[in-house]
Symmetry: C2
Subunit: 412 residues, 2 copies
């Protein structure tokens, strides 16, 4: 692993000297390489699938592991979309003259070396490496051991692209071992790795948080809320609350708890509950919701903090705006929270006081996503406050340094 | 300590609901309280000074510890300067419509609770607390035990200001114990503290880095370079190199190593060396510098990585631009590095490839400072890449969350 780290650092330094266009050329060539190597990719993927079947992986995991020809085409397409994004690197902003006569501005630069630790989906290898490369970084990728053949085959395509563009192949390295100790080694390589981005379940993230001596950009969990205010428009409330839960169940920006102002609950909740029931969503309510809706399961204290990632919804009737905000603060995960209201002051206040990476008015929590926000692509959604918060696009993979231009200026 | 943490978190939440103007009122009132309490402050400070003398603190430390009436007035003035800065909190940028019809932007918000760990200078208590308060954060301050009476007295003035503005007093808390275990406890309070900012010597910073489970914004050390290129203007080169070393010795943005292109060394170095000698700067040179300058001390390998913070300068003659950049990469601390050149391409290239928090062309490294950069004030200079890099002003004490505005928009 030390050698992998050294190679990454060296490649990152070489890349910082390279023309911007070369990184796009490399990605374009890697996309073609993925398409041209579809047969090889499928073959290598088959080794992983067979091994997975033998070792008893469940159907959902096997599905995530599979590289169908459609998924391979999708990876290549993903790379070309990243090529089409503007290059963030080298951009100078806020360059202005100071009273002393020096010019001071900020230049956007790569972070350096990014370690990605992820689980079964092999397309992460191409996606993550491409975003890191576009933003001028070197990447060390450590995928799940069940996808090792697939990941190495994808890495070869990335290497072919880099080499065609004349860039160092070590800009993208997949750790070529299934040894679990490699993760620990990666998390300790401060001298070579600038940031770690784990992508996977809560267990993985918690392990990385515990063991990493390198700064981590992480997505821990999403316990997202929609609060239907007493000044909500009834139709918008029902549409947004329905969509926030049911548009997809397994995503981190899916609503897990619905809060409803007491004075409008009787008018809104029964119809909304019917729509959920039609869709097969299990409802778990506070005492008042249970009384209002009849045969729903009572929610326990644990339900309020639960990220179901499933067709289950907790419902709580609250007395006031303040109570809703306090609930979100106490039980939420600071990921994405929305208010449904027609009241201008409440909307402004919610935006200001709710301390989440995305706060919304009259919009579905499902919009919390790099593509929807116009970032072009995302490497993940950060629930941290430092550096990147919310959906992380290319900008989150960069930092800004100060540039100072003078004419022999000295300080007095 | 747990109680201190809980109080800070609660205060930070209350403050997030408060009007912006109240924070300025509190700072203004705290400034007046410092002036009105000058006698008490001097008295409390005397306890620390006496105790310091008894326990044998050296003269430099005792000087740093002393709160003269001028220094007290300076603290009050510092607070008023912070009042005069624009409020960063709540600022919404980049708000634009997406193809789906939602509006997406970013709002600047406080980080939450900031822990400051610092050494002897008591004015840090007022400065740091004021910057954190201006940016909407709660602060937990842990100063050196030798300054405990002074720090608590300053904290009372801050509390008086907060209380006058109707803000929670726990927004600014000085840890009221000299127990060393308190630092460890503070570094472990993830649930209450969002970021730790250590201010002090390398020993303190390294301890904080090792023990903190909370993200740290830190300034490790400054090994800054000036490179005199073969296309440098002779006069500018001499002025900037002289100023970068001698304007102040003990600061992190002081040049510690001078690099000179071989082809111009004979023309520039002897005169420059005379100026350094007149100023009493000890020179330590590479073999070629020694040959050129005569009786200077040979530099050892250790000198290239040394942060002298003293009238000592290492000098190395290099063969090329590339060699200068490689030296900076190998031995520098990525703090502040400058090139002196009249060549346009070299200047552009240096700005791009040198991976330091400040990169400069034809300007003294001593300019790397929050005031000089127009940040208004600084809480420190970060040598990290994530989040804040270089001088950290109010913006570095904030984060940005996404705001989404809709009209009942749902995702399809």
């Amino acid at each position: 692993m030390q050698q992998v780290g050294r190679q990454a650092r060296a490649a990152s330094q070489q890349a910082s000297m390279a023309e911007s266009g070369l990184r796009d050329q490399a990605l374009e060539a890697a996309a073609s390489a993925l398409e041209d190597s579809a047969a090889t990719l499928a073959e290598e993927n088959n080794k992983d699938l067979e091994h997975g079947r033998e070792s008893g992986l469940d159907a959902a995991l096997l599905d995530r592991l599979e590289l169908t020809s459609q998924r391979i085409a999708g990876m290549a397409e993903g790379l070309r979309q990243i090529v089409a994004l503007p290059d963030p690197i080298g951009e100078i902003t806020d360059l202005s003259y100071r009273p002393t006569g020096i010019q001071v501005g900020r230049m956007r630069v790569p972070l350096g070396v990014i370690g990605i630790i992820y689980e079964s989906r092999p397309n992460v290898t191409a996606d993550a490496a491409a975003l890191c490369l576009k933003s001028g970084n070197a990447t060390i990728l450590r995928g799940g051991s069940e996808a090792i053949h697939s990941n190495l085959a994808i890495a070869s395509c990335m290497a072919a692209g880099l080499s065609e563009a004349g860039l160092p192949e070590h800009l993208v390295q997949v750790v070529n071992t299934t040894d679990r100790a490699a993760v620990g080694a990666l998390l300790g390589m401060n001298q070579y790795v600038d940031v770690i981005i784990p992508r996977g379940g809560k267990g993985l993230i918690e392990r990385v948080m515990r063991d990493s001596t390198i700064p981590v950009i992480k997505h821990l969990h999403g316990v997202c809320h929609v609060y239907i205010d007493d000044q909500a428009d009834r139709d918008k409330a029902i549409d947004v609350a329905f969509n926030s839960k049911t548009q997809r169940y397994g995503t981190c920006n899916t609503m897990e708890t619905l809060l409803v102002a007491g004075s409008v609950a009787a008018n809104i909740l029964p119809d909304l509950a019917s729509r959920y029931r039609e869709e097969g969503v299990e409802l778990r309510g506070c005492e008042r919701s249970c009384a209002l809706l009849g045969d729903i399961k009572p929610a326990t204290e644990d339900d309020w903090g639960e990220e179901y990632l499933a067709p289950i919804l907790a419902i709580r009737i609250v007395d006031s705006f303040e109570q809703a905000v306090a609930h979100i603060e106490k039980y939420g995960s600071h990921h994405t929270d929305a208010i449904i209201t027609q009241d201008f002051d409440r909307a402004r206040r919610f935006l200001r006081v709710v301390d989440s990476s995305s706060v919304m008015v009259n919009a579905s929590t499902r919009f919390a996503d790099g593509f929807e926000y116009g970032l072009g692509a995302e490497i993940g959604i950060s629930t941290d406050k430092l550096h990147a918060r919310g959906p992380v696009g290319l900008e989150g993979l960069t930092s800004q340094k100060f540039v100072v231009l003078g004419d022999g200026h000295t300080r007095t």
